[in-house]
């Protein structure tokens, strides 16, 4: 009872400005409560409720998202500084809730794999979102490590839940091994950093790290720094640590792919920004060249790797790697403008990815698969859906007036301002090359004949509406970015 009440209050996030925030105002507790109740209700609840668990979960995601959008105000911290409640955390938490909302909506409606009657599909996203939220709020390496691993382990399970499909399990195993490797690097890196700075707290490390790097143990600290960066690069799917991405994206059920592509990547960036503007703030300048190289490698590998793909999910994996590269450009800029650009880019990327994968999720069994050839002739079978898909892909390709263009523009400008001209040139080459593979499905949809005995495609009105709304977001954010950019800037400045 108390938990419920506190959860309700927490959801409203009535945190007073200033320091000190009672634990029950931490919204993650509310999310934990929802997840647990769903889990228990799904196991032992009455039958009609169990069948509706997916709808209930989606509704709660929507509720939490709306609450987060309208009621959260930055300022304050909890658990003695282990938990931060600032603009960065709020922005990312909204993004995670948005990702959870759309992904659970997709699971609810998609004929592909996950069904709302399987309670683990309903409950696990809540735990994943909870872990992401904590990652974005972490003020200490212990919180960061534990929540990051919680997210990773939840992702293994989500990816491989369709265990009657061999590809799903295979993707899970590959993810597991690569994830374990990155966890090992993270642990070792944290150990080395701890050994040289003598603390795990972000704020203390921020002041001690420059000294540690200059001191006798400097090389050790540097190695630790790099190991942590490797683990973060793994999480955001940056080259050369991106190998798991195509397999996992292809093997997972489509809604999960969308969830990973959007929320998990955003969580990685939350950590990256948190670290670079927290414990590593003093050495950010020194890390910029490395991040810039990671960005360039991701852009090249992602864009060129995607060229020869024949499966849309796999293609989205490679495209996700390239987008990680563009996002890293904004990080490498190392400026407030860069951070704003990254967050704006992430929002637009989320909307566009959900348009493409949402359509795929709704259609995949009728289309007969997720290969590019399955999309052939979509414009003749369902012109409206083909146009939706076109807009999604065009936004990913960065065509104006869609949000993909504006996000890229902001990121490029930030990198250019920081003097990373070579990186901007590489990125422009990548954008041009990306057109080849984003046009491939478009060409198939509009210019190829549909397969001879294609079943009729049907997508119910609410689902269509949802995708159309997402498409509307990509257009509106591209045409009228002012308010959102201003809001992001305001939240970050108030941090």
């Amino acid at each position: 009872m108390i938990g419920l009440a506190s959860g309700a209050m927490a959801a409203t996030g009535l945190a007073p400005a200033g320091h000190g925030m009672p634990w029950w105002q931490v919204p993650e507790f509310c999310w934990l409560l929802v997840g647990t109740v769903l889990l228990l209700g799904g196991c032992w609840g009455p039958e009609p409720l169990r069948g509706r668990a997916g709808a209930v979960s989606t509704a709660f995601f929507g509720l939490m998202f709306i609450v987060g959008l309208f009621f959260w105000r930055p300022g304050g911290e909890a658990f003695g500084g282990f938990y931060r409640w600032d603009g960065l955390a709020i922005l990312f938490k909204r993004l995670f809730l948005f990702g959870g909302l759309i992904a659970s909506w997709m699971m609810l409606r998609s004929p592909d794999g996950p069904r709302s009657e399987r309670i683990e599909y309903v409950a696990l996203p809540w735990f994943a979102v909870l872990a992401m939220g904590l990652m974005a709020s972490a003020g200490d390496f212990a919180v960061l490590f534990v929540s990051l691993e919680t997210l990773t382990i939840t992702s293994y399970i989500l990816v491989s839940l369709e265990r009657d499909r061999a590809t799903s399990l295979e993707a899970g195993i590959k993810y597991l091994i690569m994830g374990g490797l990155s966890a090992a690097f993270l642990v070792y890196g944290i150990a080395l950093l701890y050994g040289t700075c003598g603390t795990l707290r972000f704020d203390e490390m921020a002041s001690r790290l420059p000294g540690a790097l200059a001191g006798e143990l400097g090389p050790v600290a540097r190695a630790g720094l790099l190991c942590v960066m490797v683990a973060v690069a793994f999480k955001v799917a940056a080259a050369p640590f991106q190998w798991w991405v195509p397999d996992v994206y292809q093997g997972a059920p489509v809604p999960i792919t969308g969830f990973l592509a959007v929320a998990s990547k955003a969580a990685g960036f939350a950590v990256l920004l948190r670290l670079l503007w927290g414990p590593f703030a003093g050495v950010r300048e020194a890390l910029v060249p490395m991040i810039a190289w990671l960005a360039a490698a991701s852009i090249v590998v992602g864009n060129f790797g995607a060229l020869s793909q024949r499966n849309l999910k796999r293609l989205m994996g490679y495209s996700g790697v390239s987008h990680a590269g563009y996002l890293l450009m904004g990080v490498a800029a190392g400026t407030a403008a860069g951070v704003e650009a990254v967050i704006y880019y992430l929002i637009g990327y989320a909307a566009a990815v959900f348009v493409v994968l949402g359509l795929l999720a709704g259609l995949v069994d009728r289309l007969g698969g997720a290969d590019l050839r399955h999309l052939n002739g979509l414009a003749k079978r369902e012109p409206g859906l083909a146009w939706l898909m076109l807009v999604g892909l065009a936004s990913l390709a960065g065509l104006p007036p869609l949000v993909g263009f504006l996000g890229k523009w902001l990121v490029f400008v930030a990198a250019f301002q920081a003097g990373l001209v070579w990186l901007v040139i590489v990125a422009c080459v990548g954008v041009v090359a990306s057109l080849y593979y984003y046009l491939a499905p478009v060409r198939g949809m509009f210019f190829e004949p549909p397969p001879p005995d294609a079943p009729s495609l049907e997508l119910d009105i609410p689902y269509r509406t949802c995708i159309s709304v997402l498409m509307g977001i990509t257009i509106i954010l591209g045409v009228a970015p002012g308010p959102v950019v201003a809001a992001i800037g305001g939240l970050l400045a108030g941090q």
């Binding site: 534990v146 399990l169 795990l200």
Partner: protein, 101 residues
């Protein structure tokens, strides 16, 4: 003069590298997974060493978390491996090759 930071760290670093090499070289998923555990154990050792040489306890608390996470990972990983074995009758990594472009 008794063994110093260098010596303990060298042991931990060697174990880390051996584990890494094992992850790459071995084909059996279970053995690969053991090698991952080896790498985590190396991290644990390094953490304890640093914690003791700094004269703090924080590091050991963190070690507690590492061990918990490692155990959790083992549980999920082995469950996955069992599911895979049931579905495909294999535990060899190089036989996992259905996911291609």
């Amino acid at each position: 003069m008794s063994p110093g930071l260098l010596h303990y760290l060298a042991v931990s670093g060697l174990i880390f590298l051996i584990g890494l090499a094992g992850v790459v070289v071995r084909r059996n998923i279970i053995v690969v997974y053991m090698c991952l555990e080896l790498m985590l154990a190396a991290g644990v050792l390094a953490m304890v060493v640093f914690s003791r040489f700094l004269g703090q306890t924080d590091g050991q608390v963190f070690v507690f978390f590492i061990i918990t996470v490692a155990a959790a990972e083992v549980a999920v990983g082995l469950a996955l491996i069992v599911a895979l074995f049931r579905a495909r009758r294999t535990t060899r990594l190089d036989e996992l090759n259905t996911l291609r472009f």
